[in-house]
């Protein structure tokens, strides 16, 4: 099992050449290389699939919803080599941008987030990207959801670092990240972009196991560690459809990066 694999990896001290922001035209990458077992995540609910489009980037793949104007899931494959490359990219210089491949009627614009009080939260993190071109693509709003600032900059950033450490230690990890939209009502930015109630991240290490985190998208966010089966039931996305029943049902011994559902009181 993945269990208690948390190895602190010394930061690579690279020669930090400053990277200027690349502005490549988007090129369809190969989405399938980011899918565990070559199988893409599955959303069973037809309402959630309405108005969706697949977007392939070089280092990650997105299923984007024109209803929420956010991704519904984002897939990545991390390896020891990719994590080392990302750590070597010491200084990054970039720009958030609307996704030009999406029709204006479906996509989020920079104005939607401006002054909203929400962060533009990466689903595939910038810190996973080992090349300037990949890092630039990660700043597409098609890879963003409105995320609580304290969560995005705190526990969620710690989780992203943990997953990189996991991939570097175990050699390979498939990662699927996305928003959840639960509850009778949702907040909406600028009359356009839906604010997720939760954000989640699922990890599968071939031959080792799988599991997921769900965090409330708000201040003092509550965290849960769940099995892939529970995640799929809760958020409506099955990140790893090919996974065997036993592995799907097992709750991993992952750490959390904020207070859990069982903790009393408030706090970070």
């Amino acid at each position: 099992m993945l269990a208690a694999v948390l190895v602190t990896v010394a930061s690579a001290c690279s020669e930090g050449a400053s990277q200027s922001a690349a502005t490549p035209s988007p090129v369809a990458g190969s989405c399938i290389t980011t899918y565990a077992n070559g199988t893409r995540p599955v959303i069973a609910d037809a309402r959630r699939m309405a108005g969706t489009r697949m977007l392939c980037f070089r280092a990650f793949a997105v299923l984007h919803s024109g209803v929420t104007r956010t991704p519904l899931w984002v897939t990545e494959r991390l390896t020891r080599v990719s994590v080392e490359a990302a750590r070597a990219l010491d200084t990054r210089d970039n720009r958030f941008h609307a996704e030009e491949r999406l029709p204006t009627g479906e996509r989020a614009e920079l104005e939607d987030y401006r002054g909203s009080g929400f962060d533009r939260g990466h689903m595939a993190p910038s810190g996973d990207m080992g090349r300037p071109v990949d890092d630039y693509e990660s700043f597409s709003l098609a890879n963003m959801v409105p995320q609580d600032g304290s969560l995005n900059r705190g526990g969620w950033a710690d989780l992203e670092g943990y997953v990189r450490d996991l991939a570097a230690t175990l050699g390979e990890a498939y990662v699927v990240t996305g928003p959840a939209f639960s509850g009778a009502t949702l907040r909406r930015l600028d009359g356009r972009v839906l604010v997720p109630s939760h954000v989640w991240k699922a990890v599968r290490v071939p031959g080792q196991g799988a599991g997921a985190w769900i965090a409330v998208n708000g201040p003092g966010s509550r965290w849960e560690v769940v099995s892939i089966a529970t995640l799929a039931a809760r958020v409506g996305v099955d990140p790893f459809p090919g996974l065997d029943h036993a592995t799907r049902s097992r709750v991993p011994a992952f750490p959390t990066f904020g207070p859990t559902q069982n903790d009393g009181g408030d706090g970070e």
Binding site: C13, G16, S182, R188
Partner: protein
């Protein structure tokens, strides 16, 4: 390097330290290790560059302009289309 307060889209990171530009505010979060070597020196120089740009941009603001003219995006509540 960002031009502080010039736009809402530029972002820069130094190891795990993230700096997001904004017309009303610049947000800095995360952490960075300054090692006692040439890589640490390079990071320290980028940090100094950032601090110099911030101070210069703030010093250039006339006192009567100091109020941030932040556009407040509307946040409303809608029925969950998936519920």
């Amino acid at each position: 390097m960002i031009k502080p307060f010039a736009d809402d889209e530029a972002a820069v990171s130094i190891e795990d330290l993230y700096i997001e530009n904004g017309t009303a505010r610049v947000v800095i979060s995360g952490s960075v290790e300054i090692t006692r070597d040439s890589a640490g020196l390079e990071r320290a120089r980028v940090l100094k560059d950032l601090a110099d740009h911030l101070v210069a941009a703030l010093e250039a603001i006339e006192p009567q302009q100091a109020q941030p003219d932040e556009r407040i995006a509307s946040v409303d509540q809608v029925e969950n289309p998936f519920a």
